[in-house]
Symmetry: C2
Subunit: 429 residues, 2 copies
């Protein structure tokens, strides 16, 4: 972990730039997969699954028997834990529902917005080194709350052709029963364009490796909505003298274990705190099962000593971290100064793991400085907001003349005429 001592502002842009791991050939490879799935459908999915996941499937869709069987084998305390998480995530996202407010902008001119569920959504859940069933909670709960009619889940099969039991349990707990054993770019292509087995959806959600991310980027360019652009996960911790170094070290490592491309950043106004965190980090890392991955991520990471906490916040806003932890007893005082971040954890007991699993907030968040313009997944991500207006004859008399003048000034006489013809009629009534 590199340490920078009060770097000049001219260095900040470079420090805020994320490490780039993308291979030049990636786009071509992913484009080929997408084209194959588009033209060959299910056949290509079987073939690509054999190629990438090393398993020959008989069926793409998980059967009801498989789902039921898997659900019986979940340890009871894990069931209870998932249920607590479900409850908290549901509460937080339920509270995001908005009443439709009707606004009379001028007398007789009533305007409002209505949240309407996106009809069909596709959720991608990575397989790989860990079965990320928590992401199902984060995506399926708001999808169900919004009222999406069709929810499809794609996740890569294990070497035995099965899907992890906890993934199946969590999906069925949330009422998601259309589960397909397809991963990677081929899963994204299938949900974007449809195949014989997998229905085309309106919007695709979920994290993934660089193939998945690139596929989402490419299908978005064809007009299919995605949750947000993605990059490796990251955390930035601002620690003042009230921070507890062992806690901060644990938080940095929790982020770093995601993958070798994860990045963690520590900011402090106290040299002493930085030293203590690094000492704790070195002690803790030795005990981690995923220490080899974790060490690689720590090598991409750095700590910065800055002159005061305001400067730490300023740097953090430039970096726009996915996760921002304010490790301080007075964290709440800083919230007004946070302008760019995905999710913020205030105080020494608000660890990122809480938000990853069970506090209630969503863990699908903008990485790679996208927090400057994107929000994390929320109930809104599963809605369109349709505007409505209802204008009475009187209402059009009130605003019609202004519309006529503006339309004429824009040279759009048919726009003007749509009002004039009604005003004439009104005047005759």
């Amino acid at each position: 972990m590199k340490i920078y001592n009060n770097p000049p502002k001219s260095d900040w842009e470079e420090l805020c730039r994320r490490p780039n791991f993308e291979q030049a050939s990636l786009e071509q490879v992913v484009n080929n997969i997408i084209e194959k799935v588009k033209t060959e459908g299910d056949v290509s999915l079987f073939e690509l699954t054999e190629k990438f996941d090393k398993v020959r499937l008989n069926e793409l869709q998980v059967s009801n028997d498989e789902i039921e069987l898997a659900s019986k084998n979940i340890p009871k305390q894990l069931v209870t834990a998932i249920q607590l998480a479900k409850e908290n995530i549901s509460k937080f996202h339920e509270a995001q529902k908005e009443e439709s407010k009707q606004i009379e902008t001028s007398p007789g001119v009533l305007c409002w917005r209505k949240s309407v569920a996106i009809e069909s959504v596709g959720l991608y859940i990575p397989g790989g080194s860990a079965p990320l069933f928590s992401t199902i909670l984060m995506l399926a709960i708001p999808a169900k709350l919004a009222g999406c009619k069709e929810i499809i889940l794609c996740t890569p099969p294990q070497a035995n052709g099965e899907i992890d039991a906890t993934i199946l349990f969590t999906a069925q707990l949330l009422g998601v029963n259309k589960i397909f054993k397809v991963g990677g770019a081929q899963a994204i292509a299938a949900m974007a364009f449809g195949t014989e087995s997998i229905a085309k959806v309106n919007k695709i959600f979920g994290p993934g490796n660089q193939f998945v991310t690139k596929a989402k980027e490419l299908i978005q360019a064809t007009g299919i909505a995605i949750d947000m652009p993605a990059g490796p996960s990251e955390v930035l911790v601002i620690a003042d003298q009230t921070a507890i170094p062992s806690f901060v070290a644990a938080d940095l490592l929790a982020q770093a274990e995601h993958g070798p491309d994860s990045q963690v950043v520590l900011l402090s106004d106290k040299q002493d705190i930085i030293s203590k965190v690094i000492k704790n980090l070195e002690a803790q890392i030795a005990l981690l099962p995923r220490r080899s991955i974790t060490k690689k991520a720590i090598n991409n990471s750095f700590a910065i000593l800055l002159k005061d906490l305001d400067t730490c916040l300023e740097f953090s806003n430039s970096y726009a971290p996915e996760h921002l932890i304010i490790a301080s007893d007075i964290a709440a005082q800083f919230t007004q100064k946070i302008s760019n971040a995905g999710s913020v954890f205030l105080g020494n007991y608000s660890c990122e793991s809480a938000g990853d699993y069970a506090s209630g907030t969503n863990h699908t968040l903008p990485t790679n400085a996208y927090a400057k313009s994107y929000s994390g997944v929320s109930l809104d991500s599963f809605y369109k907001k349709i505007t409505f207006q209802q204008i009475t004859q009187k209402g059009l008399q009130n605003i019609g003349p202004a519309i006529e003048i503006m339309a004429e000034a824009e040279g759009l006489m048919a726009h003007k005429n749509a009002v004039s013809i009604r005003l004439k009629n009104t005047n005759n009534v």
Copy 2:
């Protein structure tokens, strides 16, 4: 205008497909422009403006003198009209502000979201055949209400090197003073990557021709946010026997005059209404100054006779129109059945022109069936929603064990440890 008589559902997908006007060479041309602006900066903007807009500029930025002078020459009744529109649009978007609600998901676990303005935004306003100052109202009003710190406006210069006076007046009325004489793909590239004169922004808004649209699509793939993907403007009208045919015809023509690639669709359960609308349309079109453009759009357009109003609504949901007009005295009865549309106009006096200019709703809306997954521009488009959480020691005792179990089940022991280390500490306190 083609007329279809109760087409079978198997034909609907084809009927819902928008005409495709994109040239195969477009992506290459636009990519070249983007690369040129990225590498050459301002110099390329002068050069491309000379090439495409046929004018040699001395300065890219509009001077304060130009803005002041232009603002003096606006007819008084146009000023009054713009002010009424500003007032209504402000009212409707102001009402979209949300209070931040703190939710205690478990005892000691407090979660909330906060709307924070995107710091810098770029607004693109097309020039061309009509000076679309109304789009400035639709983009700058919510940008200002949200509190965006930096608002940049790009619009192509006229042949005399100047910007239309009404555009300058409207911009300054809304407090937008950084106005650049740059149009097309080069304007989008400049705002996305920055040049010597034009600052890089976090999100780009606004309509444009196919070069602008393609440029927005391409820069989005690099992670820069845009308002939404775009295509030609369109309207779908559902007219029942209470519709007034001359009004419906006027609405169809108002949409058709936007450009030869616009599409208008008329649905009715009454043959008689369709015939009368077409008769009125033919009479009205002859009187329009933009009739040659309008006729081309009408040639891409069609009317469908369907067996009842429910089927009309079902077709409309498949088509997912940007603008949906329900030309009926009982329009309000149908709102529950509308699932895909950008903006809906209910009743015979709610003409689309009202929403285009002055009723208060936004006119930047999803075209090309994007209404299935995208919303129109709103106050939200200028915000990120950042989640916050504050967990007490007790709070972590409540949810910590569940987090530990879930993290372990996902094989993420460092995530577990971030909780365990705190619970141990809590137990010692």
